[in-house]
Amino acid sequence: MNGVRLTLLILIAIFLALLPISRRFAMRYARLALLLVVGTVIMLPFVWLICASFKDKAVLNEYTFLPPPTKISAQTINLDNFRTLFEPTATVQGPVSFWRYVFNSIFLAATGTFMSMVFSSMGGYALAKYRFRGRAFILTFMLASMAIPGVVLLAPTFEVIWRFGWMDTFRALLIPGAVSVFGIFLFRQAILRVPDDLIEAGRIDGCGEFRIYMTLVMPLVRPMTGAYCLISFLAAWNAFIGPNIFLQSQGNLTLPVVLNQYITVFEQQYGVFLAGTLLAIVLPAVLFLSLQREFISGLTSGAVKQ
């Protein structure tokens, strides 16, 4: 750790040495150095997390990252944390394996994403390509509804779900989230660019309205669909308040809720819940890397005209 200050001093020294030689070059170097420092700081928690997940609990606090190469052995670096994590834990409803939570999370995020992708794009298509009574009102209403913080609805929604008898079921999370106003706007934005002539041509050729949406419009907005699916998947995957309130039996819980529990359960061997956290980050990271270009353009499409 003593190297940290030294590294920073060296970086500054190089900058000062470059400055009299060429100002321009020094500035370019400064930009790169600054970015490297920022990038390192941002990546450090990830690196630490990966190291901590594989360290044996005996040496967890001994080394900041990994033990020195001479000390690496099965005693210091192993899969014990993961093994403990996947051991079925006894609950009131019988033993539950960690796989169960992984499955719940994947199922909820995937199903929720698919549903809200279909319904939101349908809404977006209607608002982009039809002139009908109440359209302006619906658009204004949607914008206004986005301004209301979701937590206001938390207490009354709890009662609605309770009355429907949906407590402790996945329906409680899937159905209220089946249509997203944000998604409708995102799809509307993208579908506005689809030429009207194409849709008209489809009608003349005898396509039903739903088929026009399915086979003509949706393929043209595929980048936006990718972006929206990723945004929606991430939101569902990381969701905490909803699952924490509505899901009750241990076998129904999702990863964020369970890992939050594990902080107190595995207080003495925190490598276990860090290993779980690592697993919970890996899947969205893989998805993101494969879709990152669409994702970023989708995020900014509402705010920045391109």
């Binding site: 190297g3 200050r5 009354p156 009662e159 995957w237 905490f240 902080i263 819940f273």
Partner: protein, 334 residues
């Protein structure tokens, strides 16, 4: 997925169109029945496409919203029993010292995320805003990466990073400025809020940077060049060309991050979980939504929860309207 029923009412099947001439004739008078069917289905279609939205909107937005207005005036015990209490819930909340604490913490956090995080995001975006594409893309990815991690996981992760003596953050601080190795960030009432701000900085700095970067990339380069030719220094160019050009996006980022900051909950909730003290010692990490959560779902008083929700909505509405007004005023003065 079922097909909307309207698509079964089809206009007469398209006639074989031999050439462009008869296609033009097709636009002319059609059979009356066909046109009416066509009009009926294009008129009904948008409502059918929006049907899922209407349904969920009524059941899970309009009804709960109205119900929240009612609920706020009732004393409730879980979802079963309730008694009308008038303004008592609001009276209780505004005089509750815990709520004052939550309000102070939330305002402090919002001020920090506007005052520290947004300038940093803008700075990083400007650092990245160059023609050289590869560097930009790689670092944009790296700086954005924490956003994939949910607040809960960030809370878990930073709960460990802030550990005295062994935590990475404490070790780094010790190496840099020779202080901080033994600090108990999450157990010291003075340090809890700074710890939350630092964790959220790591999480969100890249998010707003993406917006600023997209806006900066859209700044008209010819304006920048013209300013340079007219002898404007980099600072003047920034103030007079860049700032007006990114003002709309900056306003958007300002308002959305204010709204987001006021709703902070999951990060402190998990970050402070390890100390078994709820929201940190002395409620030092309690936020407004944290207070709402505790009242409504841990104490089972949904009525007070609804009242807090309304208070929060009013606060957010007032603050964002003031921000939008101010931003447009600043914009019109330029």
């Amino acid at each position: 997925m079922t097909m909307p029923p309207m698509s079964s009412v089809r206009p007469p099947p398209p006639r074989a169109v031999p050439d462009a001439l008869s296609a033009a004739a097709d636009v002319g008078p059609r059979s009356d029945r066909g046109r009416r069917a066509y009009q009926a289905r294009t008129q009904a279609a948008p409502y059918l496409f929006l049907l899922p939205y209407f349904l969920t909107c009524v059941v899970f937005f309009i009804y709960p919203l109205c119900y929240a207005a009612v609920l706020a005036f009732y004393h409730t015990d879980g979802a079963v029993r309730k008694v009308f209490v008038g303004w008592d819930n609001f009276r209780f909340v505004v005089t509750d010292p815990d709520f004052h604490r939550a309000l102070r913490n939330t305002i402090l956090f919002t001020a920090c995320s506007i005052g520290i995080q947004l300038p940093l995001s803008l700075g990083l975006a400007m650092l990245l805003n160059q023609k050289t594409d590869r560097l930009k893309n790689i670092f944009r990815l790296i700086i954005f990466a924490p956003n994939l991690v949910g607040q809960v996981f960030v809370g878990i992760l930073f709960g460990m990073l802030f550990a005295p003596r062994f935590g990475l953050f404490n070790k780094l601080l010790q190496a840099l400025i020779g202080w901080g190795l033994e600090e108990r960030w999450l157990a010291d009432p003075v340090l809890v809020m700074p710890a939350i701000v630092i964790a959220s900085l790591w999480l969100y700095v890249g998010f707003n940077m993406i917006y600023f970067l997209a806006a900066l990339q859209n700044v008209d380069q010819s304006l920048v060049d013209a300013a340079k030719i007219d002898g404007a220094g980099p600072w003047q160019t920034f103030l007079n060309v860049t700032v007006p050009a990114i003002a709309p996006v900056a306003t958007f980022v300002l308002v959305t991050s204010t709204i987001g900051s006021f709703q902070l909950f999951e990060l402190p909730y998990t970050l402070l979980q390890n100390n078994n003290s709820g929201f940190g010692p002395d409620n030092s990490g309690l936020t407004i939504v944290g207070y709402l959560y505790r009242q409504a779902f841990e104490s089972g008083d949904l009525g007070t929860g609804a009242a807090v929700g309304w208070l929060l909505t009013c606060i957010i509405l007032v603050v964002s309207l003031v921000q939008i007004k101010l931003a447009s005023k600043v914009g019109s003065e330029r």
